[in-house]
Amino acid sequence: MKNVLVVDDSETIRNQVSRALEEAGFGVIEAGDGADGLEQLANNDVALIILDVNMPILNGLDMLDRLKANPETASVPVLMLTTEVHQAMIQRARDAGASGWIIKPVKVEHLVNAVNKLAA
């Protein structure tokens, strides 16, 4: 079973995403911020990271930079979740190596389809 790391400071979002992915047959590891996410990533083998942008302590873009700078995690695909689409922010995420982005609120079927494709 493939594991997906869900990094979001909203417990509600984490629960929604986790429920959807678990029903789709994925294992889910949750983290409440970027720093927690990096720690979870160091201890788990994950096929995909779902990453919120705005988070306390270490935001999504900074976490993305760090995991792409690490050769051990650089190849893990990253799906960004964003509330609003700011061109500079999305461009930075693309440049940093994010595989895709989805605007919140997320449609469950779209989320599962995206995860199926990116984690394949």
Partner: protein, 746 residues
């Protein structure tokens, strides 16, 4: 249709004439050179052979003529003959070798010799036989001189120069060269002329025709391609085939043109804008006319995001990023498409955008974009909603002005707090609460649009996992509230200039005037009219009960009101009226049974609820009675035991159900049952120095009586006194004899 040159592979242009002329020239040159060298060689060989034959003949004749002189050893004659031979300018050397009488028998010596300047010795012949050899630029001839007896008596060696023949041959070679070159050039020229005339010129015309056809100049193409020659060859047939092809192209163009015109007519006639985009985001120039009427003329290389930016400049970056995500193909296409802007708004128009990808071999080839102006729909829905809300507000305002004032004041405060909140996480929880409260308040006043907006806002916040609304969401809330305020402000301000009195209060006041009561008394009465009639509050309570009946799927309650013309200071009682809905919820939800249950019990449907305000013994009594199931005191007692609360007397049990966290009902519904509301009512009543009484009998109903002491209650012409009982009795009597209650909702 113009051809896109960008797709053509870049090739070096080498004209066909050049490509054909080069081998022709080379071939002719080779042939000319071959002919030249052949002729020169043949001439040389022929000349030399002639020279040899002549030399051989001359030497033979000389040998015969000199033979007698040799036989007779006549040296003079020998010299004369040699001298005759040397007279020929071609003879350069002559040597006559014979036996020397003074020498050994077999040894030959030159008997006579002649050497011209520049010549040289020929040398003793090695053999006594005839020989001929061409050496360099001369011919050497050896001829034996045979005596009449048949013996060789001497050898005549002659060398003849070939210089004259060589000079003649050189001249001849030059002439041959000139003729060869001239002939070759003429031949090449003739070939090229024929080539150009029969092949190149027609092909060039065809090429120009094809170019004109590509440029859309069909007549010009036809004119060039037509051949008027009577002779047919492959090139002429090619031209004919081209004409047929051009005609077929024209025919297809005509049919396509008709179809395109029909399609464009359709596209230009529909109220939607159809556009096509290439994978790089560039919009093709073929598009519905209406698009440019909405957005102005678009540049030729306009992109999808520039189109979005024409509508909403803030959406351009969003559209570009989303488009890149669609094109790069990493995400599922339906997910990537869902991230594109679907509704864009500018100052005056609302547009819906729909995207339909057209794929080829799994790759995006085109994207059909359908742009729909939904401004009219949005405005119509907005106008309908505004009209509906306005009607609701006016109804509320007319039916209960004070309640409306409360709502308006609270709504204004909530909206201002939400809009003015600092957008930080500390304010988030308060903002979320305020939005929730505004939603409930709006819903209770029938403002479905505002309530829906708040609901969507809550959903959006929850969906994003964030507590703070976006600037756009706040702007929507501000717009919605401002819309209500613009309509209601004039009415509210206008209404503030009036004091409403009932007919009964008017008659009472009139009788005071007619009865010549003291001026101070009349003045007090007039001043008291500015206080709030309880009738308004009870009417609002009745409305609330009917809303609850609808939500609880119960038949509209039979609500009766008995207000007794009381008036209360609105400010002091604001909190009291604010908690009264908890009592109403309890009666509607847990008091009145479901319609089915009431039928089973033989009770009338709908359930009956009585609301009353009375002045009794210096106390204000607010009463809410229902004919519902009543309180299960046994269950309350058991609950009190579990919670270790006093439960010995009925009064103890009444206190228990007013305790925080204890409900009079076991189940919790959306509206009541958490045991919080009645405790809140008790807190407010106790803070006003009052108390709550409850009377309840199983299957007969429950009466909640809220008593507030020491209240300055106005009762029309009857100031608060012991006469309040009489007043109630009188009113009840009036109702019993057929006068309808003043308000009966539902």
């Amino acid at each position: 249709m113009p051809i896109n040159d960008n797709n053509k592979p870049r090739r070096l242009f080498l004209p066909l004439g050049t490509r054909m002329a080069v081998p022709i020239v080379l071939l002719v040159a080779v042939v000319a050179l071959g002919a030249y060298f052949g002729l020169v060689r043949t001439s040389r060989v022929t000349a030399m052979q002639s020279k040899q034959a002549a030399a051989e003949m001359v030497v033979k004749l000389t040998a015969r003529s000199i033979m007698p002189a040799v036989v007779f050893a006549d040296e003079t004659e020998m010299k004369r003959v040699v001298a005759d031979l040397a007279g020929s300018p071609d003879v350069t050397d002559v040597e006559l070798w014979g036996n020397d009488p003074k020498a050994a028998a077999d040894e030959t010596v030159p008997l006579v010799e002649f050497h011209r300047d520049g010549g040289g010795a020929i040398g003793r012949p090695s053999e006594a036989k005839a020989d001929l050899a061409i050496v360099s630029d001369s011919v050497k001839v050896l001829e034996p001189i045979i005596s009449p007896e048949g013996s060789t008596v001497a050898m005549l060696a002659v060398r003849l120069s070939t210089a004259r023949e060589v000079a003649a041959l050189d001249q001849l070679s030059r002439q041959i060269l000139y003729v060869s070159i001239g002939s070759a050039l003429c031949f090449i020229l003739a070939l090229l002329l024929v080539l150009h005339s029969l092949v190149l010129a027609p092909i060039q015309r065809l090429q120009l025709s094809a170019q004109r056809l590509a440029e859309g100049n069909e007549e010009g193409a036809n004119e060039l391609a037509v051949s008027h020659s009577r002779i047919e060859d492959e090139v002429v047939r090619l031209g004919t085939a081209f004409n047929d092809m051009a005609e077929a192209v024209r025919d297809r163009e005509r049919r396509l043109g008709v179809r395109n015109t029909d399609l464009k007519l359709i596209l230009d006639s529909v109220e939607q804008g159809f556009l096509t985009a290439l994978p790089d985001g560039t919009l093709l120039p073929e598009r519905s006319k209406v698009v440019e009427s909405w957005l102005g003329e678009l540049p030729n290389d306009c992109t999808v995001w520039e189109l979005a930016g024409r509508i909403d400049p803030d959406a351009a970056g969003w559209a570009q990023m989303a488009w890149l995500q669609v094109v790069d193909g990493l995400m599922p296409v339906e997910v990537a498409l869902d991230q594109l802007p679907k509704r864009l708004v500018n100052e005056s128009r609302h547009f819906d955008l729909a995207y339909h990808p057209v794929n080829s071999d799994g790759a995006l080839e085109r994207m059909i974009i359908v742009l729909t102006d939904v401004t009219a729909d949005v405005e119509r829905q907005r106008a309908l909603a505004q009209q509906h809300e306005f009607s609701v507000l006016v109804d509320q305002f007319v039916s209960d002005r004070h309640a409306f004032a409360d709502f308006w004041g609270e709504g204004t405060r909530l909206v201002e707090r939400i809009l003015d909140a600092d957008l930080n996480h500390e304010a988030a929880e308060a903002v979320r609460r305020d939005i929730h409260t505004l939603k409930g308040t709006a819903r209770s006043f029938g403002l479905s649009r505002l309530a829906a907006l708040c609901h969507d806002l809550e959903d959006s916040l929850q969906g994003r996992g964030e507590a703070l609304p976006t600037a756009q969401e706040l702007a929507q809330l501000r717009d919605a509230w401002d819309s209500l305020r613009r309509r209601m402000d004039p009415i509210i301000k206008g209404a503030g200039a009036f004091v409403e009195i009932s007919q009964m209060e008017y008659e009472d006041l009139m009788s005071s005037v007619k009865g010549a009561l003291p001026h101070a008394h009349i003045e007090r009465k007039l001043r008291e009219l500015r206080q709030e009639p309880t009738s308004w509050r009870l009417k609002r309570a009745a409305n609330t009960l009917q809303l609850l009946a609808k939500r609880l799927s119960k038949a509209p309650f039979d609500v009766s009101i008995e207000h007794n013309n009381l008036r209360l200071p609105s400010v002091q009682f604001a909190q009291f009226w604010g908690v009264l809905p908890h009592v109403l919820n309890n009666a509607a939800d847990h008091g009145i049974e479901s319609d089915e249950r009431r039928v089973e019990l033989g009770k009338p449907v709908p359930g009956r609820i009585q609301l009353a305000t009375r002045s009794v013994g210096g106390e204000l009594v607010v009463e809410v009675s229902d004919d519902g199931a009543g309180i299960d005191w046994g269950a309350v007692r058991e609950l009190a035991k579990v919670r270790n609360l006093p439960h010995a007397t009925q009064r103890d049990l009444e206190r228990v159900i007013l305790t925080d966290g204890i409900s009079s009902k076991n189940s919790v519904t959306q509206f009541s049952g958490r045991g919080v509301g009645l405790a809140a009512v008790a807190t407010v009543v106790q803070a006003m120095g009052g108390r709550i009484e409850v009377e309840s009998r199983p299957n007969e109903g429950t009466t909640w009586r809220l008593r507030i002491p020491g209240t300055r209650i106005q009762t029309g012409d009857r100031s608060e006194s012991s006469s309040s009982e009489r007043t109630r009795n009188e009113l009840e009597k009036e109702e019993r004899i057929g006068r309808k209650p003043e308000a009966s909702v539902g």
